[in-house]
């Protein structure tokens, strides 16, 4: 599999979860594990550009696919991805634990729909739990990210 543009060996064990493979075998600890039953969304990564729960997949299932984790999202050490930039500007995070999952889910959302409406934003992030922010700043960050990415300002 290709992880953040780098070809990686297959997991040593067939039962290794993709989340554990990324975190503990590749050291990509930005992917977080909040529930291990697919509800909280902390472990969201992009598989071929689409958000998936890495705790609900085995590592071997990602063979032959492109995986993007939070570490691979920013274009450089200087610049952030528009979603990351928007989170920073809008105070879209507090403890930061759910944040990589949100950022990748939103990156996936905006790739499909560059100008989401308020309703689409709310539904677009309704698969991720955050216990700190109360979501308002995250919703603002989605609008701001759409703006930064060149999408039109939503209603």
């Amino acid at each position: 599999m290709i992880v953040n543009g780098v070809e990686r060996p297959r997991p040593g064990s067939a039962r290794r979860l993709l989340s554990d493979y990324l975190r503990h075998d590749l050291g990509l600890t930005g992917t977080h594990v909040g529930c291990e039953h697919g509800v909280c969304g902390c472990c969201t990564v992009l598989l071929d550009g689409r958000p998936v729960r890495s705790c609900l997949m085995l590592g071997v299932q990602a063979e032959g696919h492109q995986v993007t984790t939070i570490e691979g999202l920013a274009p450089s050490n200087e610049a952030l991805h528009p979603v990351q930039q928007a989170f920073k500007e809008c105070h879209g995070l507090q403890c930061g634990f759910c944040t990589p999952g949100f950022v990748l889910a939103i990156a996936g959302l905006l790739a499909e729909n560059p100008s989401p409406s308020e309703q689409e934003i709310e539904e677009g992030i309704a698969g991720n739990l955050c216990r700190c922010t109360g979501y308002a700043s995250i919703r603002r960050a989605v609008s701001r990210a759409a703006e930064l990415s060149g999408g039109s300002r939503p209603e």
């Binding site: 600890t29 977080h32 529930c35 039953h37 507090q94 930061g96 634990f97 308002a136 919703r139």
Partner: protein, 782 residues
């Protein structure tokens, strides 16, 4: 012109690192560590007949399996953290249960293996034989006392405490009107997105123990580990790295893993870590909230309270490691922002066969607020008064501060409100709420609260100007997302006249500052914020002393601004802080970085000894803040809600918060705390209920069944600030972390009662419960 950072919406310095996935949470560390896994009791109450770990010990990759019999501290009760004279029957659990288990989830054995997968495989092989015993699964069963949680604790009563201020019997007797209410609050849970985790390494050469722990109090963990393992406290280091939310339960110590992981690391000579999974978090990490209150209130024909008599029971769970803090807070905070001339409160802390309790954001206050606000609403309904009006008539007035409640507070002192303006809070809240939206099944809810914040004993800070001119500031208080690195940097930057970006803040690391207490009780900004202010002030004074010698100007004529010490009115006569940092440390050797300035043969050697008498080298200082009493924050919340008459779905149409936490350091971060607190309050009011059955089994121990709000359930708040500075601390601040959550139950109850015309006497509610209540009343569509 000096920049002032205090009060500015400074963007967080923490964020870029976290956004790039470079956070360092405990489970991210120590990739070569052995990993642990618990065997936990499936029974809520049982005798442990045998524990057979032989098969587990032989399993692949297993390095150790511990039972109580394998531990030198296996027969030791874990510490009772906050003893109290009224806690006559305090009980704490053992690290691993060997004879009895008293809640489902209590730890019985601990397996350490090469990785977590192998540890879990082996844990499945541990054979425990139990003899199930009768279960005390709720407060009614506990009070009934037909079954006992601890055979030597009569009536399941851990403690009983009564406080009285004024003569309640007489006041009730003399009251023209009296009402009784029975009000229930059920169990809830904090559920931070990161569970708990511990990683430990024993350095045999150095005889040094290093522990990373997702705790709210690394200094306490360190103290306890030093005692347990008989190590000098200077040889134990405890660090709370990035913590993925905590909200209270991570202040509890010691959870069994906090002893077992270091013990295993010392025994096995390898780093060991344990990371909780969500299912065990649900039962192994402390809960809160369950209380049942019997209330009698006496009032006059204008609705003014004359006497209030409250008798409540608190569900302690199976043990009382955190003492009586929760019921004490409820008891002291129950009168809230109101004048209650005569108040009596009795509580009993009762054992149940459920997970123990300790503070969860709000900590006894949501219950207190729910009770007094239900009382207010019921008096208003009885007298046909507006709910706002009944509150106006009972408020403590702005000229009555400091206001002595006559009640004992959680730190043992008297609860004395330091400052506030409750009438203004309410009027501003109503103004922002605006007119009621049109439509059926729409209700308005209201709740006003006070919160004693910033309890002692103290907090400290170490502030150092580096020779680069950058500033490093450290406190023992860790952060779980509250933005400490940003707000403390604002405080320090103001005192030193530097850019906020030049201040780097470290928290929760005993290697950097070993003295301190922790983050809880909305205390970090008050305690550590003021300690930062004190320490940075000492550094500023020192910078002026050195500059005064160099510039030959009186200290009083100097000011700190722009990263320099300047002569007031003559800004070109200045010395950069970086230079003063070099000069603060008299040197023999010029090792670079401008160090030659501080060597002996400079053009301007100081008279007398190179280091002035009483002075310490380095442009640094340690400062402490210890409060004379709590700083009392307050606020008013109001909402319009709509309840769907078919599905009983709750829609929050508008939610207004007007909050007074004294002077605001960073409005951006404060609003985040408030919004997040209210979201948790909404969860606790309408979605989240820990559903225990009669056998003490938690039936909804997953995020699929314990429903926490998603974005779709939480509206954007309208937030207003009022600032009545606290006179008790130099910054004038009060705590803000818990405020958002406190009145939400009261507000939602009030609003639903208004929308559906049903009586609400319990929290949390749910669509199903509303359906039942509405049907009882004969309402709804069927």
């Amino acid at each position: 012109m000096t920049t002032r950072w205090f009060g500015e919406r400074v963007l967080r310095s923490e964020d870029e690192r976290l956004l790039r996935g470079r956070g360092r949470y405990t489970d991210d560390l120590g990739e070569d560590a052995l990993e642990g896994c618990f065997v936990r009791s499936p029974y809520a109450h049982a005798r442990v007949l045998s524990v057979d770990v032989e098969a587990a010990r032989r399993a692949p990759g297993v390095r150790a399996v511990y039972t109580a019999a394998d531990l030198p501290f296996g027969e030791m009760d874990l510490p009772l953290l906050i003893p109290h004279p009224a806690l006559t029957q305090g009980r704490t659990q053992r690290c691993l249960a060997s004879r009895m288990v008293r809640y489902a989830g209590e730890a019985v054995a601990f397996v350490v293996a090469e990785d977590r997968y192998l540890a879990e495989d082996a844990a499945d092989l541990v054979e425990v034989e139990y003899e199930p015993l009768p279960v005390v699964a709720n407060l009614e069963a506990a009070a009934g006392a037909e079954r006992l949680v601890h055979s030597d604790v009569p009536g399941n009563v851990a403690a009983e405490l009564t406080q009285e201020s004024g003569d309640v019997e007489a006041a009730l007797e003399a009251s023209p009107r009296r009402r009784r209410l029975r009000l229930r609050y059920e169990r809830g849970a904090a559920q931070p997105m990161e569970g708990r985790a511990v990683w430990a390494r024993w350095d045999a050469g150095e005889q040094r123990l290093t522990v990373y722990d997702s705790t709210q109090s690394p200094t306490s963990i360190r103290g306890g580990l030093a005692v347990l393992f008989d190590l000098p406290e200077t040889s134990v280091e405890v660090i709370a790295p990035d913590v993925g939310g905590a909200f209270g339960p991570k202040i509890m110590l010691f959870y069994p893993d906090e002893l077992l992981v270091p013990h295993a690391a010392m025994q096995l000579g390898r780093p060991v870590k344990w990371t909780e999974d969500r299912r065990e978090h649900f039962t192994a990490v402390n809960h809160e909230r369950a209380q049942l209150h019997e209330v009698e209130v006496g009032y006059d024909d204008e609705g003014r309270i004359q006497g209030l008599d409250v008798d409540f029971v608190h569900d302690a769970g199976a043990y009382t490691p955190y003492g009586l803090i929760l019921p004490i807070i409820t008891a002291a905070q129950l009168p809230g922002p109101y004048r209650v001339p005569a108040y009596r409160v009795r509580f009993r802390d009762l054992y149940t066969n459920l997970t123990p309790t300790s503070p969860y954001r709000g900590a006894g206050r949501p219950q207190a607020c729910f009770v007094i606000e239900r009382v207010m609403d019921s008096i208003a309904a009885e007298l046909g008064l507006e709910r706002a009006e009944i509150r106006r008539r009972n408020f403590i007035q702005p000229d009555q501060f400091p206001y002595d409640t006559g009640l004992s507070w959680q730190d043992g002192s008297r609860a004395v409100y330091d400052s506030g303006d409750y009438p203004r809070l309410l009027e501003e809240c109503l103004r922002l709420l605006g007119p009621r939206p049109a439509g059926d099944n729409v209700g308005m809810g209201l709740g006003v609260y006070v919160e004693g914040t910033g309890v002692g004993p103290y907090e400290g800070a170490h502030v150092q100007v580096l020779v680069s001119g950058k500033v490093v500031a450290s406190t023992a208080v860790p952060s779980q997302g509250q933005g400490h690195a940003t707000v403390f940097a604002q405080v320090v930057a103001d005192a030193l006249g530097v850019d906020v970006a030049d201040v780097e803040v470290h928290g929760g690391d005993t290697r950097r500052l070993q003295w301190g207490v922790g983050t809880f009780a909305s205390r970090s900004a008050v305690m550590a914020g003021n300690a930062m202010h004190v320490a940075a002030g000492l550094v500023a004074e020192k910078a002026k002393r050195i500059a005064s010698e160099q510039l030959e100007v009186d200290s009083a004529d100097l000011e700190l601004a722009g990263g320099e010490v300047r002569v007031r009115g003559t800004p070109d006569r200045a010395i950069p802080l970086s230079t003063l940092a070099v000069l603060s440390n008299p040197l023999r050797y010029a090792f670079g970085g401008g160090a030659e300035m501080a060597t002996p043969f400079t053009p301007k050697p100081r008279q007398g000894p190179p280091l002035a008498s009483g002075e310490q080298p380095g442009l640094e200082a340690t400062g402490y803040y210890s409060p004379p009493g709590s700083a009392w924050a307050s606020g008013a919340h109001a909402a319009y809600v709509h309840v769907d008459p078919d599905t009983y779905r709750l829609e929050i149409l508008r939610y207004v918060v007007v909050h007074d936490c004294g002077r605001v350091i960073n409005p951006l971060i404060l609003e985040g705390q408030v919004q997040g607190g209210v979201a948790q309050g909404i969860g606790g009011a309408f979605y989240e209920r820990l559903a225990y059955d009669e056998e003490g089994q938690l039936r909804n121990a997953s995020f699929m069944e314990f429903l926490m709000p998603y974005s779709t359930e939480v509206p954007e708040l309208v937030i207003g600030h009022l600032e009545t500075p606290s006179p008790l601390n130099p910054l004038g601040v009060k705590g803000a972390g818990e405020a958002g959550v406190i009145p939400v139950g009261a507000v939602v109850a009030s609003a639903i009662e208004d929308a559906l015309r049903i009586r609400v006497t319990e929290m949390p509610l749910s669509p199903l419960r509303l359906f039942d209540l509405d049907r009882l009343r004969g309402g709804g569509r069927r």
